[in-house]
Symmetry: C2
Amino acid sequence: MQGQEILPAIAAHLLDSARANGGKAPSERDLAEYFSVSRGQVREALAILESMQVIERRAKSGIYVNTDKSGFEAMAFFARAGIPLENRQIYEAVEVRKIHEIKAAELAAVRATDEDFERLQDVLERSEQRIAAGEGIDALDQEFHLQIVRATQNTLFLSICTSFYELGRQRLEVYFRDPERNRKSHEEHKQIYEALVKRDAALTSALMVSHLRGVMSYWTELLEPHAPGS
Amino acid sequence: MQGQEILPAIAAHLLDSARANGGKAPSERDLAEYFSVSRGQVREALAILESMQVIERRAKSGIYVNTDKSGFEAMAFFARAGIPLENRQIYEAVEVRKIHEIKAAELAAVRATDEDFERLQDVLERSEQRIAAGEGIDALDQEFHLQIVRATQNTLFLSICTSFYELGRQRLEVYFRDPERNRKSHEEHKQIYEALVKRDAALTSALMVSHLRGVMSYWTELLEPHAPGS
DNA sequence: CGACTCAATCTGGTATTACCAAAATGGAAC
DNA sequence: GTTCCATTTTGGTAATACCAGATTGAGTCG
């Protein structure tokens, strides 16, 4: 635990401590000692966590962890840090991600440039190679979907969707262990690409809907115990 | 500049310095002296800005500002800090916000609870009072729209949309200086509310589309010089 | 026993000082 | 003009000290 990112470690420790202590986290000095770093380092990490609304620092009182807060920034950070999310958060993220990707497909069909098409085709070719070699296309799947978002020419849109992908990266790897899923996913990607080239927004969008239905059901199936929304 | 948030000030100063200096920002020591704070304070602010990808800190080299980076977190922060955005960023934000709100209206029609309806009605009543008193409903407008998002029962969705509102708050105030706009906006809000109560998702969504067309055109008109996406 | 009081303690907020080592710099040597 | 090396600059990190409000707990009073 040296010279490296202590932020994730501190975040995880704060969450644990707070859970066992009614929202109250250890003091800065305790944290510094626990992680064998200076108080300054701890304060830098806490400043970031506070900016993400993960914690609240009350002067002369202590550090309090915002439970249940599911801010976008915080979720993206947790995902990146490998801190597990609650089922409800995953449900919500899946839903919001679907909304984004479907709309992105629609917009991309209208706005995609020649370079966008080239990049998509490149991803498809590399996917083909990996499938032929019996390897998973999890990274390529991400590239394909994000490239479509990029084709909307809206960088803010891309920024948000990129964060969503970080949310589900780990599960994606598991998903693409199954060769059949790889093949099916790739076929659907090709169909979506064809619809994009035709600039058929409605068709692209519809294909994306059904494509995501398949992929996303994998997530929600894993969470079955916890009933949706209600 | 004491005891208070120096983060916005430092952010603004970094952006200025970098613009005039090819991406390179002053050193931590210079910043500390410039703002009359300790280096520790500067480092806390820089840590936050780095976590938002606004800057990059290269060890033993310097602080570099990521120009053109339009990450979601950074934009929300800039808006909150009162740092002006570029036209392109505003365009993108308006587009993404529209996508969210339209979909939110659709989902809310299906999922809104009795409490949601009560809160919406409350907002409408208060709006009525303010309009009768000849006051602007800018804050209520925000409440209304966010309450609809809240009615989707998706807290992540709400978190994202809340950030979007921060993006346009200042312009909203100006917009609602016009009594006619207040009246028209309120009328449309009432129509949307009626559609929601009927749980008519398609109608709610359609009404939101036309409502936003009116409101949003105000933004884009202000930016005319920069042509839209294509 | 309970409620109140007040001093000791804890805590975040801030500043100062000091080192380290790698990067950047600038001038000397070729 | 190029190469090379010593000096300076810079971010990264630690240790220490104070402040003042919040918290706590012991002691006191009713």
